[in-house]
């Protein structure tokens, strides 16, 4: 056989091997398998905040970025049509902390530490990962452009702000730049929107506005000015959407703002976590009777008629019973509530960051009944008359939950009002521009109230074990982001007659256990 024939036979053999590859009737790895409908996913750009960046466990880190909902979407889009590489401004590590030069400006991610108590029961606590020092220096510029433009911490108007990525702005007080955008802004003066538009996206997603109300919420509703004015929000949001649409991305998806009361940061510690024995309950009830009695005296000394004084003071005659009781909370001192405290109402919320050890040790949320106070209570019980100083000692022992650790009814209402107005704007702009609209608020409410079933159980918002929320109690886990991605896909498919496949949320992880933690 000569060489030419030999080669020919090799060729035939090779052909035979190719022909023997298994082929499906409907192979999904071919581009025609799914339909992009009226949408063009070829250059998808995602705008937003931490939720868009894939932030989780109080940090941004590589695996979180990989499991961000925009990256999940991009991977699914790539199964539908030919798409450009979805570029992500990856962090340098999975530790998550940030450096600006030598200085550490953000701590590492949280991981779930597991220890065992004396009964062998596991005790799990979120703690800062110490397995490695952070290596992401925000002053190391990345070369873009990047498709995932989620900037942790950004509010709606930040996306329009020139200089939001200017390293010099980090040093100002207050800072005018964001360390995450500093990493990948195309120039010191660029705005997020400008950098997005410059990429000439064919499709975009926008999930912004959470921080416009979240900062107020996570600081316990102390400063109402922390809430972005809804009219300003509407103006900003309109500019963002029209900027993107006019850049050529005529198709896209707008995602609305979930209710903060659906996230574990505000729901994990119940407002009735004041658990008392019968004796403790009786003592506290007695204490607040004393408070009411003393305050009646105080009012009468201020010439308030006895009947009226007793009536005003009666609101402080709080009663406690064995088992869980609602906490006492500090409120502004007013004419009707001159001492400025009351018991929490059913819907009021405590923040995850509250000092839980102070509840039993310092009577935080009820009263700090010291031996000196006990002494005064003893005097009262025997019908004695305490001195004004002693009386004041009792009044001062009331130790209500600080404003910064709770959201009261009014604060919750402020948040809800703003969120509702933002969401109205988002819905209106989606409809006006023919964009897909995702009701993330409804999705996360479903997660919080009934859970969402998947092939291995339920995803709920229970802290630590529910699967949806990461260890910071606000941001999602990969599984939570996958749920969001599926919801987005379904809305996109409904809006644009596309057939983007959804993902199996069971393939996405939840919280990361590790005992490489500090104290």
């Amino acid at each position: 056989m000569n060489m030419r024939n030999y080669i020919k036979y090799i060729g035939i053999l090779a052909l035979g091997m190719v022909a023997c590859e298994p082929e499906f009737d409907n192979p999904i790895d071919e581009q025609e398998a799914y339909n992009n409908g009226e949408a063009d996913f070829s250059n998808y750009v995602a705008l937003g905040n931490s939720l868009t960046a894939g932030y989780a466990d109080n940090a941004l880190y590589i695996t979180g970025q990989e499991n961000s909902y925009p990256n999940i979407l991009a991977q699914q889009f790539a199964k539908v049509q030919e798409t450009q590489e979805f570029r992500i401004p990856y962090m340098a590590d999975n530790a998550g902390g940030l450096l600006a030069g030598e200085q550490q400006i953000a701590s590492n991610r949280l991981v779930l530490e597991t220890l065992f108590d004396e009964n062998g029961e596991p005790v799990q606590t979120p703690k800062v990962y110490t397995g490695m020092a952070p290596t992401t220096n925000v002053l190391n510029k990345l070369t873009g452009p990047f498709n995932n433009m989620g900037v942790p911490g950004a509010r709606s108007y930040h996306l329009l702000a020139p200089g939001y990525g200017n390293p010099a702005g980090l040093m100002e007080d207050p800072a005018t730049a964001n360390p995450y955008f500093v990493r990948f802004a195309s120039s010191p003066q660029a705005s997020v929107l400008e950098d997005a538009v410059a990429q000439q996206p064919t499709f975009f997603s926008l999930w912004i506005g959470n921080n416009d109300v979240l900062g107020y919420a996570t600081s316990g509703g102390v400063d109402e000015a922390e809430i972005t004015d809804p009219e300003m929000f509407t103006g900003v949001y309109t500019q963002l959407v029209s900027g993107l649409v006019q850049s050529g991305a005529e198709e896209g998806v707008l995602i609305n703002i979930p209710d903060v009361t659906d996230v574990p940061f505000f729901t994990t510690i119940p407002n009735n976590a004041l658990v008392l024995s019968a004796e403790q309950a009786a003592n506290l009830t007695g204490f607040f009777q004393a408070v009411a009695g003393i305050f009646t005296q105080v009012l009468m000394q201020q010439q308030v008629p006895q009947e009226q004084a007793a009536q005003i003071a009666s609101q402080y005659e709080l009663t406690f019973s064995e088992g869980p009781n609602r906490f006492v909370i500090d409120v502004p001192e007013t004419q009707t509530n001159p001492l400025g405290f009351r018991q929490m109402t059913e819907e009021e919320l405590l923040l995850f960051t509250i000092d839980r050890t102070a509840i039993p040790t310092q009577g935080y949320g009820s009263a700090a009944v010291s031996p000196q106070v006990m002494q005064v209570l003893g005097i009262l019980q025997q019908g004695g008359q305490p001195t004004p100083e002693q009386a004041q000692l009792v009044l001062d022992a009331v130790n209500g939950i600080d404003d910064k650790d709770a959201l009261d009814t009014q604060e919750i209402q402020n948040i809800r009002n703003a969120t509702a107005k933002y969401n109205e704007t988002i819905l209106n702009l989606a409809q006006a521009n023919g964009l897909a609209h995702v009701d993330a608020a409804a999705l996360l409410n479903r997660v919080a109230t009934e859970g969402i079933s998947f092939d291995a159980g339920m995803v709920t918002s229970t802290f630590g074990s529910g699967g949806a929320f990461s260890l910071d109690g606000i941001h999602l886990t990969p599984r939570g982001y996958a749920l969001v991605a599926n919801e987005i896909i379904e809305e996109i498919n409904a809006t644009y007659n596309s057939e983007v496949p959804t993902v199996n949320v069971g393939n996405y992880g939840t919280v990361t256990p590790s005992n490489e933690v500090g104290n």
């Binding site: 298994p22 499906f24 220890l115 496949p501």
Partner: protein
């Protein structure tokens, strides 16, 4: 050739690899009643005594090219195996002591599997890859009781090894997102078994054969279990250890006949029943006492085989065959380490007499599988939830093989 280690793709029901003779394979792997060559050492040792020459040797090797594709239309996930070519081999020698008595030696690889999926593919919590090998070594004796009846058989010594790797769960990773996995490895696992057969010569042209090969349970003891990418937490208390496990190589009963139609044509039919029912579960017991249970619930399975041989010239013999192979894998137990559904085999081959003593045997088999929607429904995750893994599977196997027959 004999020393080429058998790494063979699972390609007859379960991890049975029906490639024990080029002549037989070319005829649909029939042979329990075909007196043709020393391949009888595997198919029915009772027939060895009928071989004409004093010494007959048959040896050969095949290359098994197999690929399995998986896809899930709901999620758009897909994966393909990247299996190295398997090389099942056989060596059969038969020596005739007198007209009524022959002895022989056979070495063959009836069980084996090499399935290699892409690392961390969607089903990696069930299998990343598996490599299973078993070499049978069998001394034989064949005795003619009467002109119409002979019997034969012998003890089987098996030496085998297994290497199996999978991820620990669908989501567990170390801090950097590397999937936590376990690899178990055991080699030098040795066991004994036996086979015996009878061949009944009804008329000059019609033979009827029966052969039984015993079940052999491979017991891996103190194999190595190697855990990788385990996060630093008492929730994942995995460190390298040893394990015990049992893997059955099931018994197989074959009955069949051959009919010499005329001087040119020989027809053959075999019926196999493989007693896969013994494979209930793959239980891996680690040294610390934890057991990884993997229900398999195989059922006994049948194969119907048809073959024909045409003597074209005095130097050239042509063969063709067909078989239908029932899978032992039941609904809901379709695990990607043995992704098997019913298949049809189409076979062909030839023998060319190079000299009066030496013939070259070649065969080619193509196995056709229907596309199948299947799932494995018995995976239990870290939260004790039973999580099915399914999708659409499609397999293709083709097997070119070459061998020699030497007669003295």
């Amino acid at each position: 050739m004999v020393f080429a280690l058998a790494g063979a793709i699972t390609y007859a029901g379960g991890y049975r690899v029906g490639v024990q003779g080029q002549r037989a394979l070319a005829m649909g792997h029939t042979g329990v009643a075909v007196v043709n060559s020393a391949e009888l050492g595997f198919f029915n040792p009772a027939g060895l005594v009928y071989l004409e020459n004093q010494l007959t040797i048959s040896a050969g090797v095949s290359a098994v090219f197999s690929e399995v594709a998986w896809q899930n239309e709901t999620t758009g996930e897909n994966a393909r195996t990247d299996n190295p070519a398997g090389t099942p081999f056989y060596f059969n020698a038969s020596y005739k002591l007198n007209d009524n008595l022959a002895v022989g030696l056979s070495v063959y690889t009836p069980y084996g599997s090499t399935v290699k999926w892409e690392d961390d593919w969607a089903g990696s919590h069930l299998t990343n890859d598996i490599e299973l090998q078993a070499i049978y070594i069998q001394p034989l004796i064949s005795y003619k009781i009467a002109d119409f009846l002979s019997i034969g058989g012998g003890p089987i010594y098996v030496t085998g090894s297994v290497n199996f790797s999978r991820n620990l769960s669908r989501t567990l990773t170390d801090i950097d997102g590397n999937r936590s996995s376990v690899t178990i490895d055991a080699s030098g696992v040795n066991e004994w078994g036996w086979s015996a057969g009878a061949l009944f010569t009804a008329t000059e042209d019609l033979r009827i054969g029966i052969n039984y090969r015993s079940e052999i349970i491979m017991k891996a003891e103190d194999g190595d279990a190697d855990f990788e990418n385990i996060p630093n937490t008492p929730l994942a208390p995995f460190s390298d250890t040893t394990f015990n496990a049992e893997l059955p190589l099931p018994a197989e009963l074959t009955v069949g006949l051959s009919y010499q139609l005329n001087s040119k044509w020989l027809l053959a039919f075999d019926f196999n029943r493989a007693f896969w029912g013994v494979y209930e579960s793959l239980d891996i017991e680690f040294a610390n006492g934890t057991v990884s249970g993997n229900p398999r619930a195989y059922e006994d399975a049948n194969t119907w085989r048809f073959g024909a041989q045409y003597t074209a010239t005095d130097k050239l013999t042509l063969r063709a065959g067909y078989y239908y192979d029932d899978t032992p894998v039941q609904d809901g137990y379709f695990a990607p380490e043995t992704p098997r559904n019913d298949s049809m085999g189409f076979t062909a081959g030839l023998s060319l007499d190079v000299t009066s003593k030496l013939a070259i045997d070649a065969s080619f088999a193509y196995l056709r599988f229907d596309e199948v929607d299947a799932s494995y429904d018995y995976y239990v995750d870290e939260n004790n939830q039973t999580v099915p893994f399914g999708g659409t599977y499609k397999s293709v196997v083709f097997i070119p093989g070459i061998g020699v027959t030497y007669k003295l």
